[in-house]
């Protein structure tokens, strides 16, 4: 611990001592006000619901695309005709014929 940290700790300790008033009960009417506010809050708007739906759909589409790309990459590597040396050999034999 450097000198500043040591001094800062002393300061924080002194600040803690002075700020030791523990919170008591909620002021009169506070809970009623909060609850009334909550109950008058409008539910989620159509735009918000639409937005969350679109985001989920976008996520699903991205996932499907990723799976297709991965599948395409691996399946094409097993496709022997896609190998250039084989393709050239087939083309050469066709020319010779």
């Amino acid at each position: 611990m450097n000198e500043f940290e040591r001094r800062w700790k002393l300061g924080a300790e002194a600040a803690r001592r002075d700020d030791d008033d523990s919170p008591g009960e909620a002021p009169f009417g506070f809970a009623a006000r909060v609850v009334a506010h909550w109950q008058t809050q409008p539910g989620p708007s159509l735009a918000t619901l639409w937005q969350s739906l679109v985001l989920r759909a976008l996520g699903a589409v991205t996932l499907v695309l990723l799976i297709l790309v991965t599948y395409g990459t691996f399946s094409s590597s097993h496709d022997e005709l896609a190998r250039p040396e084989l393709e050239s050999a087939v083309a050469d034999s066709l020319v010779l014929l």
Binding site: R7, G24, V34, H37
Partner: protein, 197 residues
Amino acid sequence: MPPDAFDVPACLDRVRQQDAAAARALVDHFYPLVIKIARSHRPRRMAEEDLAQEIYLKMFTRLQQYHGRDGVPFEHWLSRLAVTTCLDALRAEKRRPEWRWADLGDGERDWLEFFAGETPAPAPSDALGVCEVVEKLLALLSTEDRLVITLLDLEERSVAEISQLTGWGVSLVKIRAFRARRKLRAHALKLQKESKL
């Protein structure tokens, strides 16, 4: 009803069914927890009760996301929600204050010189001054830095607890605290330099 007898899961079930009396009981029961967090991490221009109200409204709106079966006590879930709400409120307060040496009172100056000093010196005795200067120095930090120092040094929470409250990893909490203290020192030195001009 004594605090120990408060049945949180039953109350939550009733609140989910829009029971206003249960909602009021829930607000009253968790008021000390919520107001303590709001008081420690509120923006300068926001009343602690307004921030507490914002926390509660968020709690009611997101109550469906809390499932007691996950093993997370409701207090922990609410504390985390309160901390993130305070962080958002602090972030929304875009302008950070710029303190000058001339803005500080005598007690605050004594503490600031003590923080910035290198030579052995006794800590000043002005308790009010230290609260003011600590708050002013913290206000100069970024929202995240301020939060980590308040939780770690002023509220004496453990690193694991802060990690749980903020969602940051343990190493990130330690690094952030280390860097925040370095910034505090730089601010203290800068302010002290002004006194010599």
